[in-house]
Amino acid sequence: MREALQTLSEPLTEVPDASRPPLAEPLLSGRGLTLEIGGRRLLDAIDIDIRPGRRTLVMGANGAGKSLLLRVLHGLVSPTSGHVHWRGRPLDKAARRAQAMVFQRPVMLRRSVVANLSFALGVRGLRGAERGRRIAEALEQARLGDLARRPARVLSGGEQQRLALVRALACDPELLFLDEPTASLDPASTQAIERLVDDAHQRGVTIVMVTHDLGQARRLGDDLVFLHGGRVAETGPAQKLLDAPASEAARAWLEGRLYLGDPGMTT
């Protein structure tokens, strides 16, 4: 990872794949990811590697491009330039099916809790007994068994987010994206979500998560990518980066200061 960090800290030029050191084969990698909308550069030549079985956090100030980066990595948004590779090959349908995403505001179908789960599993081609088994399992995990027949949209925010999370996990993803899943939840609901994420991780699911919550970052993070102004300011092991940030942007953010300079510069 140190080599990777050095590479990333270099001037933002194209980095050929061949020159990558044969570290752990990344599950998902982005190279030179740049996104421009309406003449504004929202993501600027981002290189990122997601290693299998790890929990990678994406952090940074509001507007740093965290959510956009997740969407680009998940294939929801096409980058203006650069590319995303899944196991060393371009994203395709199979790759997308191996991923799932939970959004900050859970998107609930106007159906019952069960029907929400059933729909997602149906999309993945699951029918009959297997689908029933997975639904029961998901309800159990989310502790939503009593609410199974209720319309999903009358559930509380915490319940909805739990449902969204187990709905994503029921599809058995290798990689799970979480975009600030606990941003608007109370401590108990947050804890429930974290436990579910942790369980998934124990089962070997690779996690990529955006969060603003420092405690959560320390509890759940293995690797950390710190963004500033659409660029990678710093990457490294989460604990280490949070304890001793190298970049001015990360340091300022951790100290609660507004920082408007370049991401990597240490002044």
């Binding site: 969407r71 294939g75 929801l76 349908k93 991923q99 106007r110 999309v123 319309p151 599809c171």
Partner: protein
Amino acid sequence: MKDFTSILAEAIGLIFAGDADLIEIIALSLKVTLSAVVIACLIGLPLGAAVGAFRFPGRTLVTILLNSLMGLPPVVVGLVVYLALSNAGPLGPLQLLYTPTAMVIAQTILVTPIVAALTRQVIEDLDTEYSEQFRSLGVGPLERMKALLWDARYSLLTVALAGFGRAVAEVGAVIIVGGNINHVTRVMTTTIALETSKGNLELALALGVVLLVIAVMVNAAVMGLRASAVRSAYA
């Protein structure tokens, strides 16, 4: 002319007298209109959903077209259908002119753009909400359209009602293609037109009130269903 209280009294009298002719006319009105609305929904819902949910070249043009067709003058539709179904027209051999089927065809043409245009709006709004989640799940195009239509079902009931309102109140098209033939193609609106032309304004107005009462009942039934859906956050 009599005042409105006496017209209202006459309307209530008409409803409770249970006159066989009036019942026949009301029944035909409902049959023709509901048939047209059902067919218009079978065409307009998928069409509107497709335009609302998919991006394709010329989409804006199609949207403008659908929105404009909502204002189709009934008489023009009536004339076009007449010319098509006339014995001198291309569909003459079907012998549909001056039948309830001809009226259903004309009303379907009037109602389909309304259903399609309003459906497009409803589906587009819902798609904005669902789109990222659906793409994340990898929902296919057909599955997506079905899910959007199903989840918007209670809003789409209102859309169907808008179509029903247009059809049930329409006279210009059905009088041309139906011919307002007694016991065959005479419906509420053509009866009102006939009684007006006979100078029986009170009877015409009373029939208008009866038509309104029917429309209110249909709307109330559908909105009752929708209200229970809103309570369960399905709408």
